[in-house]
Amino acid sequence: MAGWRRHEGQAVRLPLANVDTDQLIPARFMSVPRAEGYGRYLLHDLRRDESGVMRRDFPLNTVDQASVLVAGANFGSGSSREAAVYALVDAGFRVVFAPSFGDIFASNAVNNGLLPARIDADTSDALAEMLVGFPCKVQIDLGTCRATFGNHDVPFTLDENWRIKLMNGWDDIDLTQQHAMAIDAFRERYAETSPWTVPRKRS
């Protein structure tokens, strides 16, 4: 995964709170291999009517090629399905602004280079209002944790370790392998002090 520091893209609003991962990608699409792309399943049942046609009035359908989402609180609550992040990333999104995120969703997002940027609820409401009928470009700088929506300067927050990880594009497995000796030492000590933690072999 490539790291990034700055991003410029089109913003779109999703003025809903508690957008759960079942909305981000309904369960029935999750058996698809990632290579086929998950973008078309993003918010499938909210964006499309029963016959699969895009709803014209759904905010996400009013802007082409958006890469920045402005959503309500508790975005990505619910299941641990990383497919919810794949759907966003494969649809071209790099940043989600929201007052709060589901814990597992946020860590999945960072693992896929998607920035879960926290803003306060009033800012979220104001941006959502501003974006009605006024699609605008946004510049995001991970180095300073600031975004610029048109003339508006918007600070955002995220955990420092996530900020560094996103900028460096770290792969956790590579990182962990550098600690192989510490892991081995831990395991040896642990096996001595807590041998019962290894499952009993069944006869």
Binding site: D22, D45, S80, N108, T176, R187, S194
Partner: protein, 468 residues
């Protein structure tokens, strides 16, 4: 004297391989549970040419896509492929697989405890948000995404920032017909679905101490619906009695040593929590969700809220939920007709749950159709030994095999669009049980009451003269 520590502190410290400068810890994983949905993670592992680091501590279970009827021949090729992929990955990496024909197959969060794989003091990961269930044993158990699953497979460790500690204390006896499910829905309704975000919740107090392991698992299971990735209960004699003699649990001298260590897994007196919530058990009634978020829950005797009377932030969501659910503001929950019922899931598919539902259904007929899918094949066998299957079938409900089934609908057990389902599951999200499905979450006994009356109903009058 050393600083008093929380249960979370103790569990964290015991698994910490190292802590990075940025405060993130590398933790040793004792049990890793995988299922069909873990296919993305196995694909990542394959793309790196990596092996599973510790196969003997990794267990595979067929549950999310498990057919509950007609297991011999799976008609849907996508479902068959998902299950086959897990078989291939388990075979390739030499993992113990609880396959469809295994008498111990079931939902991963039912199988783990049942097999003695879940123990106090362990760190348990699974690519499923309801992994918090295992915290009922005093384990550090949390759901992870596919990238993290691949990481655990490859290294048997996980990077994690320590959450804040939160304690929810529940005191006093629960009223008749009030269960762990109602405790969970009650606190989530109070604090909101994001109420415990960033926290690990320890459940404490006399009510929790009096709960069975099944009840504690239900409570910890639902932690994530209140935003907490972790739920936990300090282990005690109830915990030890549940574990003793289970297939993978320690025995002999190892058992004695383990129990001694487990007894120290309590929050010390005076340990500081970042947040404390106290609930009086007497204030909790049988609780039902009315909307499309678990926080939209009310006592059974309540009327539905008028969005106009709510804060602006809640009003829009409430109006949308009422519209989706086909309900009106001011309407009473009790008496709302349902089309069908479902009993099962990792939340409420254990033997005690089936007993509670059967106690209501015994000698009665259901007015609506319904499905009962036990949490595991072991639970199914136990229920059949007790004659519970006959109670369900004589009431007119279908008795099926075990899996995640109608909680998530991946195996094809779906609720049709516009249909209303009284369900013992964990999520009433829009479309969770099928596109357009209307889900009301409640305890298994309350689902049984809905079956018997054909409406959302208070179970308490139906329990008169019966032993729940």
């Amino acid at each position: 004297m050393s600083q008093p520590r929380t249960l979370l502190d103790k569990l964290w410290r015991a698994h910490e391989v190292l802590q990075r400068e940025d405060g993130v810890s590398l933790l040793w994983v004792d049990r890793h549970l995988v299922h069909e949905g873990s296919h993305h993670a196995f694909a990542k592992l394959a793309s790196r040419g990596a092996a599973v680091a510790v196969p003997e501590q990794t267990f595979a279970v067929v549950d999310h896509y498990a057919p509950t009827r007609g297991r011999g021949r799976i008609a849907d090729p996508q479902i068959a492929r998902m299950i086959d992929t897990l078989r291939q990955n388990a075979g390739r990496h030499d993992l113990r697989l609880f396959d469809l024909d295994d008498p111990s197959q079931g939902i991963v969060h039912v199988v783990g405890p049942e097999q003695g794989l879940t123990l106090p003091g362990l760190l348990i990961n699974c690519g499923d948000s309801h992994t918090s269930t295992h915290g009922a044993f005093g384990a550090l158990a949390f759901g992870i995404g596919a990238t993290e699953v691949a990481h655990v497979l490859a290294t048997q460790t996980v990077w994690q920032k320590k959450p804040k500690a939160m304690r929810i204390s529940v005191e006093g006896p629960l009223g008749p017909g009030v269960t762990a499910k109602d405790i969970a829905l009650n606190w989530i309704a109070r604090l909101g679905t994001g109420g415990a975000q960033g926290h690990a919740v320890e459940y404490a107090g006399s009510t929790i101490q009096d709960l069975s392991m099944e009840g504690r698992m239900t409570l910890c299971n639902l932690s994530i619906e209140g935003g907490a990735r972790f739920g936990m209960v300090a282990p005690d004699e109830t915990t030890f009695a549940y574990i003793k003699g289970r297939p993978y649990a320690p025995d002999g001298p190892a058992w004695t040593a383990a129990v001694e260590e487990w007894r120290s897994l309590v929050s010390d007196a005076g340990a500081a929590f970042d947040r404390e919530v106290v609930i009086n058990a007497a204030d909790i009634a049988p609780t039902v969700t009315w909307g499309t978020s678990p926080e939209q829950a009310l006592p059974i005797d309540a009327a539905l809220p008028d969005p106009a009377a709510l804060t602006p932030a809640k009003a829009e969501a409430a109006a949308a939920a009422l519209d989706y659910m086909g309900l009106a503001a001011g309407q009473h929950l009790a008496g709302t007709p349902v089309d069908q019922v479902f009993i099962g899931s990792c939340t409420n598919g254990r033997i005690e749950d089936l007993r509670a539902a059967a106690a209501v259904l015994s000698g009665r007929r259901a007015k609506v159709p319904g499905l009962v899918s036990p949490g595991s094949q072991r639970v199914k066998a136990q229920a059949e030994e007790e004659g519970l299957d006959r109670v369900f079938t004589e009431a007119g409900l279908e008795w099926a095999a075990s899996g995640c089934s109608m909680c998530v609908g991946m195996n094809g057990d779906l609720v049709e669009s516009g249909k209303r389902c009284a369900s013992s599951t964990n999520r009433n999200f829009r479309g969770r049980q099928g596109r357009g499905a209307r889900t009301h979450l409640m305890s298994p006994a309350m689902v049984a009451a809905a079956a018997v009356t054909g409406t959302i109903a208070d179970v308490r009058p139906l329990l008169a003269g019966r032993t729940p």
